[in-house]
């Protein structure tokens, strides 16, 4: 949809500045998440804003400019990587299985304060590393929902997939992260190794 017909080019440009430019820091952060590389992130943000400007007439006034910019950013990123391989996602039932599998991964561990474990200074960098090593499309989904705080619906809009797909990707991503973090916690002595596990 287009802006109001009586809007001049200058007015459109001013609206672009008013509605799109305030999200530069957010788009920059999203680009860094996607690329994991400062130089690539810089180029990605620049290309995102240039494409957004050229497509500004397609932006629906009053809709969520931040979400719209994130969508462009991700599309540019995917196109640049030439990595649009077909991904088969599991459905909602598998999402439920992911939750059960994740619970099983820590079910045998002795009871403790998990806030203390996950809040440990050592674990912070490990969490960031585990997220950065998470494969796509799980990383984008976890970053949007768990780190950026977007709803399933918002993430689905940005990534252009159904909500059920977001859910299954998110749950798989969380389970993979938990496995990596529990392995790290055991290796670093924060949790007992496999031999020290309790039976359930």
């Amino acid at each position: 949809m287009t802006a109001a017909p009586e809007e001049s080019k200058k007015e459109q440009d001013q609206r672009f500045e008013r509605e799109a430019l305030p999200w530069m820091d957010d788009v920059y952060r999203f680009a860094k998440w996607l690329t994991r590389n400062d130089a690539d992130a810089d180029d990605l943000v620049q290309e995102t804003y240039l494409r957004a400007y050229r497509s500004w007439h397609t932006f629906q006034p009053g809709s969520d400019a931040r979400r719209w910019l994130f969508t462009i950013c991700r599309n540019v990123y995917l196109r640049n990587r030439e990595r649009e391989r077909r991904i088969v996602d599991t459905g909602g039932d598998d999402a439920k299985l992911e939750t059960l599998a994740a619970v099983q991964s820590h079910a045998d561990l002795p009871s403790r304060s998990w806030d203390d474990v996950f809040g440990a200074v050592d674990l912070g960098p490990a969490i960031e590393r585990a997220i950065s090593e998470l494969g796509e499309p799980y990383r984008s989904t976890v970053l949007l929902v768990d780190v950026d705080g977007q709803s399933y619906e918002e993430a689905a809009s940005i990534l252009d997939v159904p909500v059920g797909t977001i859910r299954s990707r998110l749950f798989r991503g969380r389970r993979l992260l938990q496995e990596a973090l529990l392995a790290h916690a055991r290796d670093s002595g924060m949790l007992p190794s496999g031999d020290g596990r309790h039976g359930s």
Partner: protein, 90 residues
């Protein structure tokens, strides 16, 4: 997973919907059922506590990175070159 009955939902149902529950993505009625179950069930609560702490730790990794001024200036310049008129930002 035990089929312990602590309210209107059993442990398997609760555990399989823990993330939906923590994300607030269930119906109000289901949210209430699971909350009631977790309050009463010593078997499920540790799982809830683990997942809650895990998600809290993920959210804590959010950084408020600000775009470097040099990059901001470069993008503004590119936008002007692309024909964007009257930008008031530097």
């Amino acid at each position: 997973m035990k089929k312990l009955d602590c309210g209107s939902v059993d442990c398997t149902q609760v555990v399989s919907q823990l993330w939906d529950y923590l994300d607030g993505e269930l119906t109000e009625e289901r949210m209430r059922d699971i909350q009631t179950h977790l309050t009463a069930c010593a078997g499920c609560f540790p799982h809830f506590d683990f997942e809650r702490a895990f998600l809290k730790a993920l959210a804590a990794t959010r950084k408020e990175d600000r775009m470097p001024g040099v990059l901001r200036a470069r993008i503004m310049e590119k936008l002007r070159e692309a024909g964007c008129e009257g930008l008031t930002s530097p």
